[in-house]
Amino acid sequence: MAIDWNAFTPASALAGGALIGAAAALFAVLNGRIAGISGILGGLLRPQGGDIAWRVAFVAGLVAAPAGYMLLSGLPEIRIDAAYPALVAAGLLVGAGTRFGAGCTSGHGVCGISRLSPRSLVATLAFMAAGFATVYLLRHVAGA
């Protein structure tokens, strides 16, 4: 393991993380819900009365974030290296996997671990391990 010190951005990582945690805290304290993005988004495909507006609003907030950020400063670098076939395969796996696993990086990773949920800890270890393994296989075995 060799750390890429040039890519390491501890200050912005901690500041961004604190904002993410603050958003999750706000949502828990005011709305009484978990800021789990896969569940909020996926729940829109299973519409129930009175359950739609807040989901749409949360999703709209995320989509509006780049515009909000640009009011203050230019967007940082965003680079998507994956080609379209890989992106589509990845999207399908993320879309189905997060629903079967009942959570993603936000709901299990941030909120679940903040709540000391054993279920979320197991889910987080599983998706992190699968993510590490996939990148290892792609970059160091398949040589992509």
């Binding site: 750390i3 005011l30 949360f58 890989a86 996997g97």
Partner: protein, 144 residues
């Protein structure tokens, strides 16, 4: 109405946090997942910062039945750790490792009008729909 507005606000702050943290840049996420290459450990600090900022709020809400706005507290009760949770999370992790995008950043990327981001989001929604289809079949046929 206020409930919907605070949901929007939470989504917006969450999304800005993802951009600040570098989570909205798939190349940086893959740099974190590539532990055997030039490793960028930044994203571990994102999760650390988020948990530090969020944990207090979740501890506060644990003993409450109403939020500060008077809405019911709907935080999940401890569920069981089953095959579905682990397999779903593994599938999610494979998709995450393929493209470096999880559900929150997918929505933020859509907000930048990135063609690749939108393609990923479309596939993610198709994956959500696939889950709904399979889950509806499972519930109507308990043997499967």
């Amino acid at each position: 109405m206020l409930y919907t507005f605070t949901a929007f606000l939470a989504g917006l702050v969450f999304g800005v946090g993802l951009i600040v943290a570098g989570m909205a840049n798939p190349a940086k996420v893959l740099g974190f997942l590539d532990v055997a290459g030039a490793w960028d450990p930044s994203l571990a600090l994102v999760m650390g910062g988020a948990i530090a900022a969020g944990a207090g709020a979740f501890a506060l809400m644990r003993s409450r039945t109403r939020t500060l706005l008077g809405a019911p507290v709907l935080l999940p009760v401890a569920g069981k750790i089953d095959r579905r949770l682990v397999l779903g999370s593994l599938v999610f992790g494979i998709g995450w490792g393929l493209a470096g995008i999880c559900p929150g950043p997918a929505l933020v990327l859509a907000g930048t009008a990135s063609a690749k981001g939108l393609a990923f989001l479309a596939a993610l929604l198709a994956g959500n729909a696939l889950y709904e289809f399979l889950d509806a079949r499972r519930r109507s046929d308990p043997v499967a």
